[in-house]
């Protein structure tokens, strides 16, 4: 149970950063932290104490093994996060070229 609570705290750290930081790069890092927290939590759902890998288990036996499906899910989600992070960084670079700053309080031509 403790590990799940710690993961949730990590998620909240990321959320706090994304909502309160003013620097574009820090916002992107906070979003990554949120993503890592969720990935870690899903991996922990699949973990079994002293379990073996699914690929090493002999056919027919019924041993204690780690659930392999969440690992596949996390692989997919990491790839997606990489794409989104690359997109965010590209946008941050373009914003810097236009506004000469990373401070979001100075980047506000849109209003209302």
């Amino acid at each position: 149970m403790t590990v799940y609570v710690l993961c949730f705290i990590l998620l909240l750290v990321g959320l706090y950063g994304a909502l309160t930081k003013r620097d574009l790069i820090k916002i992107i890092l906070s979003l990554s932290i949120m993503g890592y927290a969720v990935n870690l939590m899903i991996i922990l759902f699949a973990y079994r104490t002293d379990g073996s890998f699914a690929i090493l288990v002999k056919e027919g036996s019924n041993p204690n093994m780690v659930d392999p499906l969440p690992q596949a899910l996390i692989l997919t989600s990491i790839v997606i996060e990489l794409g989104i992070t690359a997109m965010l960084v590209a946008l941050a670079i373009r914003l810097f070229q236009q506004y000469k700053t990373f401070d979001i309080t100075k980047i506000r031509r849109l209003s209302g």
Binding site: M34, L73, I80, R109, L110
Partner: protein
């Protein structure tokens, strides 16, 4: 079996466009129009042949708990028709509109990815697969919002991308918790397993999903990104985002998850009603103060999504019918209004209502269709918007939610007020406009005329004989809470 092609065709088109197109965008246009046209034909075919049945496609020969399945029932084929119809008109509008930007072929490739994502979300029966397709659609949407390469557009795209990835993370967390408690990812299996699991799990996961999908569909407390993103995007993309993206990713996912998986818990239906009525009133009030035409339309989208959510929250058969009908109607008239705004922006170079004037003589098609769309969104009798709003209000009265009915009436009146403002200043103002930057091409005109005709034609769907064939099966899918499990698993 047509379901896999719904996803394969646009995905293939996206990659072919990047391969074959050079500096010119001719081949990109031909390919994308062909792809979307075939998608629309497939969607219409599936819509008129599905009826009350459910078709399952199991990928790569595995059976259901092990594979990713695609589900085609009345609700999903209804949504597919809306998405591909708006996509086709949006492409027709894009052809000359997008030539003002550099390298237009990239636009078509991203557009095809956007359609892939939305069709995938609608067709899939696997909850993690839904997440993946949603990310594909959102990734294309972030890039398309920033397509104009101006400072404001980057700003809006960054804001959208940050909000979008927060909500995606929340949804992934919800998917993880669902998998941990039910050991399956197929939505029908999850629904069957959840009946045996502690109901607190359902409430927690539903709350996480409400925040996640609420951000995607821009319900009132989660709306902040929408006016920026939808008003900064190129006009055909604004119409795709406002017309279908928030419905496919937000409202459709909410219907599937809250009705078909969680079985519509009463607490959340009440929450839908409260959030829906807040959206209606506050967004209409904010729209009244806007002078930027596209921003006004974006706020109006939030308020109309509020009507749909109110209908879903009331939860009677009539209310769901109203909500489903309003999904279709809003897609049609809001896309049309964004085309009008795009045409005006192209011709005059401004979106500010105060700088527009009398366009009646100079742009008759734009002015005429915008009038039809305005009457439709404000809910005047022969047009489609009137019927869906009327049904929602009648359903609210019948279900003894008098307060919500009054809120919906006030919301309609406010809608009328801010669209009269848009018409008065934007299209029927005092200053005669004589200078035009660019003429409106035939493609743009025909896109607007098609949707204007549909504004009137779709109101025929409410006639009992036609309704039983078109809208009623959709309502049955949503209302029949255990029907989805039985239809997919065959138990």
């Amino acid at each position: 079996m047509i379901l896999p092609f719904i996803i394969i065709i646009p995905l293939l088109a996206a990659f072919l466009i990047t391969l074959i197109s050079g500096e010119k965008d001719n081949w990109a246009i031909v390919l994308s129009i062909l792809a979307v046209l075939s998608l629309l034909i497939l969607a219409l075919f599936s819509f008129f042949t599905t009826g009350d049945e459910t078709f399952i496609y199991e990928m790569s020969g595995w059976k259901i708990p092990l594979t990713i399945c695609l589900v085609q029932d009345a609700l999903s084929s209804f949504m597919l028709v809306i998405v591909n119809l708006i996509a086709l008109t949006s492409l027709m509008f894009s052809i000359s509109y997008i030539r003002q930007y550099s390298s237009p072929w990239m636009y078509y490739a991203l557009f095809m990815l956007l359609i892939t994502g939305m069709n995938g979300v609608i067709a899939t029966g696997d909850i993690f697969n839904l997440f993946v397709f949603m990310e594909i659609a959102l990734f294309a949407a972030y890039a398309l919002v920033a397509f104009g390469s101006k400072a404001e557009e980057y700003e809006a795209a960054f804001k959208y991308a940050v909000m979008g990835s927060i909500s995606s993370t929340l949804i992934l967390l919800g998917v993880g918790i669902l998998y941990a408690s039910t050991s399956t990812l197929t939505m029908a299996n999850i629904a069957a397993e959840l009946q045996t699991v502690n109901s607190q799990v359902t409430y927690w996961v539903a709350a996480i999903f409400l925040a996640g999908f609420g951000l995607k569909s821009a319900i009132m407390p989660f709306h902040a990104w929408l006016p920026d993103a939808h008003s900064s995007a190129p006009a055909p993309i604004s119409s795709m985002l406002s017309g279908v993206l928030i419905k496919a990713l937000g409202v459709y996912a909410i219907i599937r998850i809250f009705y078909n998986i969680f079985g519509a818990p009463a607490v959340f239906l009440t929450l839908f009603m409260v959030l829906g009525s807040i959206s209606i009133i506050v967004a209409s009030y904010l729209a009244l103060g806007q002078w930027d035409l596209k921003r006004l339309l974006a706020y109006s989208s939030i308020s109309q999504i509020g009507f749909i959510l109110l209908g879903l929250g009331i939860g009677t058969k009539l209310a769901i019918l109203g909500a489903v009908f309003h999904i279709l109607n809003h897609a049609i008239f809001k896309s049309l209004l964004f085309y009008n705004a795009g045409a005006v922006e192209l011709a005059l170079g401004t979106r500010d209502l105060r700088k527009m004037g009398n366009l009646k003589g100079a742009m008759p098609v734009t002015t005429g269709t915008s009038m039809i769309a305005t009457l439709s969104v404000a809910g005047l009798p022969p047009f489609n918007g009137f019927f869906s709003k009327l049904i929602i209000i009648i359903a609210a009265v019948q279900a003894n939610h008098i307060v919500y009915a009054i809120i919906a009436v006030i919301g309609s009146l406010l809608t009328l007020a801010y669209f009269i403002k848009a018409q008065r200043y934007g299209f029927h103002g005092e200053t005669e406009i004589t200078e035009f930057r660019q003429t409106i091409s035939l493609g743009m005109k025909s896109a607007m005329i098609i949707l204007a005709v549909l504004c009137i034609v779709t109101s025929l769907l409410i006639i009992p004989g036609i309704r039983e064939l078109t809208l009623d099966p959709v309502v049955t899918v949503i209302m029949n809470k255990t029907g989805y499990i039985q239809a997919v698993l065959g138990r």
